[in-house]
């Protein structure tokens, strides 16, 4: 089991995430797992009771989870947003920009490579779910 990378100060949720269907059926779960085909917007009425959303990437080339993440952050979700599954070094920086703040990769990632990935981009061109200021805003500040 690879180590979970977590970029939050709070305590992780101590119970496993349930499926979206199970979550919508029961009122006590605080952790849910979104699959690529799930509609993240179904969770929006319930954000107040969520502390962990796992977004599963069964294959790294399936990019639906990036939209799911941004949609949750745009709706004001502030709990943990964890990318799980086929999560690789070269996708980390984009995931972070879409609002992920935890990563649970299937395969252990090299720590130095991870750090290099997060340090890679000196600037960003566009708005996303992080707090980085886009180039076009800096140009006209």
């Amino acid at each position: 089991m690879a180590e979970t990378l977590r970029y939050r100060d709070d305590q992780p949720v101590d119970h496993p995430a349930v499926t979206v269907d199970a979550f919508l059926d029961q009122s006590n779960a605080a952790a849910v797992r979104i699959e690529p085909g799930d509609d993240a917007r179904e969770l929006l009425p319930h954000l107040g009771r969520l502390s962990l959303v796992e977004v599963n990437f069964p294959a790294f080339g399936d990019g639906r989870g990036y939209s799911s993440a941004r949609i949750l952050r745009e709706a004001g979700y502030e709990g943990e947003l964890r990318a799980v599954g086929d999560v690789l070094v070269d996708q980390l920086a984009y995931m972070r920009r879409c609002g992920f703040d935890a990563f649970e990769p299937d395969q252990q990632l090299d720590k130095d490579d991870v750090q290099a990935a997060f340090d890679r981009w000196p600037e960003v061109y566009q708005d996303a779910a992080d707090d980085r200021t886009p180039i076009w805003t800096k140009r006209h500040a």
Partner: protein
């Protein structure tokens, strides 16, 4: 022309370092080939039959002489002394070594160029009208909008693992020189009744296995919401585009299966949401970009008359120059379609010559056409003879723009691992045939496009005459199509009937042009005659 500032430069420099690091991790075994593949594709490196191909982005087809020189140097230093200009206004090199790729990207970055997102399932290089800023019929230069979209789409965190590749074209005149409605998103900059500029969005066009003409889903998006609308279009696609079958993964299939109305409804809902989020760049950014595309200092009262006493020159002027918005100027097209040559190829020497001529005669600017030719956009009529003389000496003076010799052809089985048949030799035989029978000029505008497989990189669906190479029991076979157009009168070509072998297809093309010559009425192009008389007379001539 657009110039990088320190931010743009920092981003391409970071990309070079990122690629070097990825290549290192691939060599160390930290990345599998499956993991590395999308990363190298997003840096333009594509594995062909014999070697890696590197596709370099030429945003909206515009480049200066220094950049063209750099492309020539790369051809000499890392390839076999030539390059191939593509149907999306880029250039690709066919004989690249993987271990050189990082150095090539670094060389490109020194002249404000890159290979970012020229392949892979991401937003590709934005294409545009090759006569932008010069055409007499445009309402505004479309390139500032293309540049804004270039920045927005570069390293987009949400849209870099789309269901499939995504191509955007931007034009700003009713005449479509960029195949706008055959793109995933085609944008036409328009003026409304109040005189304000906006963007008409056409979404879900494309060629490939399932050709579709994009419907208009919003006739007027205000320019200060352009990026937001594009973001909404992409988000709906990223979430709902099919991922179960790569042949059904393009946005055209989503729009078709969902219905344009439902797709539009979802885009509008996402758009309303994103307007609240505030993802649009400051409008001042568009204004900043526009300043880079202001007119060059045209000479007032430049002479209109051209000395036509040299008949070869006169033919070239008539065929290869196009009306300019400024009196005394034209746009001059350098044909990369010499008779018997490979469409779109240019040697390093030819690239250097074109670069130098652009510097001398066209305000240091060149354009790549999607028809695989080069444009010098702003040439004084008084300079045309000197320009033509230099081009002709270098084998670049073919007077065949928009004729049957001006063929689009994909790389085909000579290079491409997807191809079923060769395209290049067919193009070569056809141009030789029509040069020999002397009909190139009299046939007038005749757009012939050849693809070596159903992926349609040679745009055969959009040819007045299209040719599709297929594999029939291990033998190359060529289907003939008629009646396509990529222009404002867009239509998809229809297949004539059973295919032909390599010699038969050349005869078949000549046969259908004979039908046209016999049937045409005053001023009709091949396409017009076909549309008037229909397929049957052509079929009868072909199959008896």
């Amino acid at each position: 022309m657009y110039k990088y500032d320190q931010y743009d430069q920092a981003m391409v420099d970071a990309r070079v370092e990122e690629f070097r690091d990825q290549a290192r991790r691939r060599l160390e075994g930290k990345l599998t080939e499956d993991q590395f593949k999308p990363l190298r594709l997003m840096n333009g490196l594509y594995l062909q039959l014999h070697a890696y191909m590197l596709r370099v982005a030429i945003p909206y087809g515009t480049l200066n002489s220094q950049q063209m020189h750099a492309l020539a140097d790369i051809a000499d230093k890392y390839d076999r002394g030539y390059g191939h200009f593509t149907t999306r206004q880029n250039i690709q090199y066919n004989w690249i070594k993987l271990e050189d790729a990082g150095d090539i990207l670094a060389d490109l970055a020194k002249v404000e160029m890159h290979a970012i997102q020229t392949s892979g399932n991401c937003i590709r290089n934005i294409s545009s009208d090759h006569f932008a800023g010069a055409a007499a019929d445009e309402i505004v230069d479309p390139r500032p909008y293309a540049e804004l979209l270039r920045q927005w789409s570069s390293f987009h965190p949400e849209f870099s693992y789309l269901p499939r590749k995504f191509k955007i074209a931007v034009i700003a005149s009713d005449t479509d020189r960029a195949a706008m409605r055959l793109h995933d998103i085609g944008i036409q900059i328009v003026k409304n009744d109040a005189g304000e500029l906006g963007a008409a969005f056409y979404v879900g066009g494309g060629m490939g296995r399932t050709p579709m003409v994009a419907p208009c889903i919003n006739a007027f998006v205000p320019l200060d919401r352009l990026v937001t609308y594009a973001e909404a279009c992409l988000r709906v696609y990223n979430r709902h585009g099919r991922r179960d079958n790569k042949y059904k993964a393009r946005i055209k299939i989503l729009v078709h299966e969902m219905g344009a109305e439902e797709y539009t409804r979802q885009v509008e809902a996402e758009y309303a949401h994103l307007l609240e989020e505030g993802v649009e760049p400051p409008f001042a950014e568009l204004e900043r970009i526009r300043t880079y595309f202001e007119d060059p200092l045209f000479e007032a009262g430049a002479p209109e008359e051209v000395d036509r006493s040299d008949p070869d020159f006169a033919v070239w002027v008539d065929r290869n120059t196009v009306a300019h918005k400024e009196a005394g100027y034209v746009s001059a097209v350098i044909s990369l379609k010499p008779v018997g040559g490979i469409p779109g190829d240019a040697t390093a020497e030819q690239m250097r010559l074109m670069a130098d001529l652009a510097k001398d005669y066209s305000f240091d600017e060149l354009r790549v056409m999607h028809t695989q030719n080069i444009v010098l956009p702003h040439v004084r009529k008084a300079d045309l003879h000197a320009l033509w003389t230099a081009l002709d000496e270098a084998g670049l003076g073919s007077p065949n723009l928009d004729t049957v010799e001006d063929i689009i052809a994909c790389p085909g089985l000579d290079y491409c691992s997807l191809a079923n048949a060769r395209s290049i030799p067919i193009a070569q035989r056809i141009s030789e045939r029509f040069a020999a029978n002397g009909k190139t000029g009299t046939l007038g505008e005749l757009k012939l496009k050849i693809s070596g497989c159903i992926n349609a990189c040679g745009h055969h669906h959009a040819g007045h005459i299209g040719i599709l190479g297929v594999d029939r029991k291990g033998v190359e076979n060529y289907q003939l199509l008629l009646g396509g157009s990529e222009a404002e009168d867009v239509s998809l070509a229809k297949i004539t009937g059973p295919g032909f072998d390599e010699n038969g297809i050349v005869d078949a093309v000549e046969t259908v042009t004979n039908v046209y010559e016999n049937e045409r009425q005053d001023g009709e192009r091949f396409l017009d005659t076909y549309r008037r008389i229909g397929m049957n007379p052509f079929k009868e001539a072909l199959y008896g």
